[in-house]
């Protein structure tokens, strides 16, 4: 069942003012509808504007489909997954899905439990990849804090892990201060990061 987890600040880049967004514990039909009605067209529009060859090849996109088909279960209410939605101005501003059944790869806590972020994205209108005038800043902070909070609540001591998309590697490594465990050949060549309990505690300060 979906619950309101709290209110968190987003910065309106145009006005320079903070605005209150709502964080919910589950992606619901409205969030999926927002994805289809508002997120998808912006991404598709941008894709159509890029010169040929600039987008991932169709085979690479099919590879994602192959991977994602394995994750279809994340939307079917399995206990192993938790999802989050950040909403503001009657729109879904951010989405995240986390797994509770992955294990730590980092040697000092190898095979201990952690919260693995299967997927986190801010809405395309907040994202420089899709617009030259991003609207809100702050979705990422709240989502990472939500993942760490989930990890603490599940007694995983705040540990989290994720495969970063290339444009976000610096943010996870330098701003979030996560441990870079290198490129993962088993997952689209994305770079894998983990946060220890100590790093998580520092992030939440």
């Amino acid at each position: 069942m979906r619950e309101l987890l709290g209110h968190f600040a987003l910065l309106n880049r145009a006005s320079g003012k903070e605005e209150r967004a709502e964080l919910y514990s589950q992606i619901d039909a409205k969030n999926l509808s927002d994805f289809t009605r508002y997120w998808r067209p912006m991404v598709a529009e941008r894709l159509s504007q890029l010169p040929r060859g600039a987008t991932p090849a169709d085979a690479n996109l099919q590879d994602w489909h192959w991977d994602w088909a394995q994750k279809a279960e994340v939307f079917t209410g399995r206990l192993a997954y938790r999802s989050f939605a950040l909403e503001h101005a009657d729109r879904t501003q951010g989405l995240m899905v986390c797994s509770l059944v992955r294990r730590v790869r980092e040697k000092s806590r190898l095979n201990q439990h952690l919260v693995y972020i299967e997927f986190v994205q801010t809405a395309p209108w907040n994202n420089r990849h899709y617009t030259t005038t991003p609207v809100y800043k702050g979705v990422g902070n709240t989502m990472v804090a939500a993942a760490i909070s989930l990890s603490l609540e599940e007694e995983f001591e705040g540990r989290i892990g994720l495969h970063s998309l290339p444009q976000s590697e610096a943010w996870y490594r330098e701003y979030c201060q996560m441990t870079d465990l290198g490129v993962d050949d088993q997952y689209q060549g994305l770079r894998y990061f983990e946060m220890t309990s100590e790093q998580a505690a520092r992030f939440l300060k």
Partner: protein, 70 residues
């Protein structure tokens, strides 16, 4: 907070020992460990119902051993 329900769990001595040992090793309370076990059980069960099999793979030889499923 979403409401949680409480139940009593009856276990044999040997099962309690395993529960205590695993909880300590994983740094989890017994409740958290059982919740984690439930998540894994649900995931495994759904895949088995789809006809998939559960394997462990040796890290070097890549040899697979089928998990005996209860």
């Amino acid at each position: 907070m979403l409401e949680r329900k409480t139940m009593t769990l009856n276990l044999h001595e040997s099962e309690m020992v395993v529960l205590d040992t695993l909880a300590e090793r994983k740094g989890l309370s017994k409740t958290a460990l059982i919740r984690q076990a439930l998540r894994l059980y649900q995931s495994v069960e759904e895949r088995l119902e789809q006809g998939q099999k559960f394997f462990f793979e040796h890290p070097l030889s890549k040899e697979k051993a089928e998990l005996i499923v209860l």
